[in-house]
């Protein structure tokens, strides 16, 4: 995951924090802080991303063995079972990709809710047109985006104050 995001950042030209901060991100958590959490910027970048300590635990070994490991020590490989078979079927294109529950869509819904955007079914189903990986995009045009309520999004957060672009800096120079 880390290598993937960093590779994306390189391909997108987002390894320079001055460029990344100039992008009109909807929210830092899904923009500059997301990239910063994966170390997309150099060590000299004045972008400090606060991440919460991993708190999720998963019981391993025999049932009731009581052995727990923090989440950051767990493997990213999904356990065998339904979800794995489902993903395999998706890879074989036996299932449409839109049937896959995805964290990002759930998070996107939360994001949309925080900004006062209501998602509506598209062509009879609630989906985001997840077809071509990496190239699929979703554009939402609500009448009013900003919500007067404060945005209560989870981590990661970035210290905006520390990311202020100096007056004499010029992008692309």
């Amino acid at each position: 995951m880390r290598r993937y995001v960093r590779r994306f950042a390189r391909s997108a030209g987002l390894t320079d924090w001055r460029v990344a901060i100039a992008v009109p991100w909807l929210h830092d958590s899904w923009g500059i802080a997301f990239l910063g959490a994966y170390g997309a910027f150099g060590d000299d970048a004045p972008v400090k991303v606060n991440l919460p300590p991993p708190t999720t635990k998963q019981v391993i070994g025999p049932a009731n063995s009581g052995v727990e490991r923090p989440s950051h020590e767990l493997s990213a490989t999904p356990s065998a079972g339904g979800p794995q078979r489902k993903r395999a079927a998706i890879r074989r294109r036996r299932l449409p990709l839109t049937t896959l529950r995805c964290r990002s869509y759930r998070s996107f819904r939360q994001l949309a809710f925080a900004y006062g955007v209501h998602l509506q079914p598209v062509a009879g189903r609630e989906g985001v047109g997840v077809t071509a990986p990496a190239l699929s995009g979703l554009a939402v045009r609500p009448e009013q985006y900003r919500n007067p309520r404060p945005c209560q999004l989870p981590w990661p957060r970035v210290h905006r104050q520390a990311c202020r672009v100096p007056q004499d800096s010029r992008l692309g120079s």
């Binding site: 995951m1 993937y4 995001v5 590779r7 994306f8 950042a9 390189r10 391909s11 997108a12 030209g13 987002l14 992008v23 009109p24 991100w25 909807l26 929210h27 899904w30 923009g31 997301f34 990239l35 991993p54 999720t56 990213a76 999904p78 979800p83 993903r87 890879r91 990709l97 896959l100 529950r101 995805c102 964290r103 990002s104 869509y105 759930r106 996107f108 955007v117 209501h118 509506q120 598209v122 985001v128 047109g129 997840v130 077809t131 071509a132 990986p133 990496a134 190239l135 699929s136 995009g137 979703l138 554009a139 939402v140 045009r141 609500p142 009448e143 009013q144 985006y145 981590w155 990661p156």
Partner: protein, 75 residues
């Protein structure tokens, strides 16, 4: 509140973009996080920025809904 969904493959006309437009760019999908996909996502991002420089953007990665960890907790 009306909401329109437009796939990026179809493209957005410049006249369709307003101040309230958000582009949620999916930069990858679980089990398909390859270098080629990362480069393609990077090119898509650059294309979006070239076409719609003022449009709000949010990045997302699909396929981790059933995992309790956060995205940045994956190695």
């Amino acid at each position: 509140m009306p909401v329109d969904f437009v796939s990026y493959e179809g493209g957005l006309e410049p006249t369709e973009v307003t101040e309230g437009t958000l582009i949620n760019l999916t930069i990858g999908t679980r089990d398909e996080l390859t270098k080629r996909d990362a480069d393609a996502a990077g090119r898509a991002f650059q294309e979006i920025r070239r076409r719609h420089s003022e449009t709000l953007i949010a990045l997302s990665i699909l396929g981790y809904d059933q995992d309790p960890r956060e995205l940045w907790e994956f190695p």
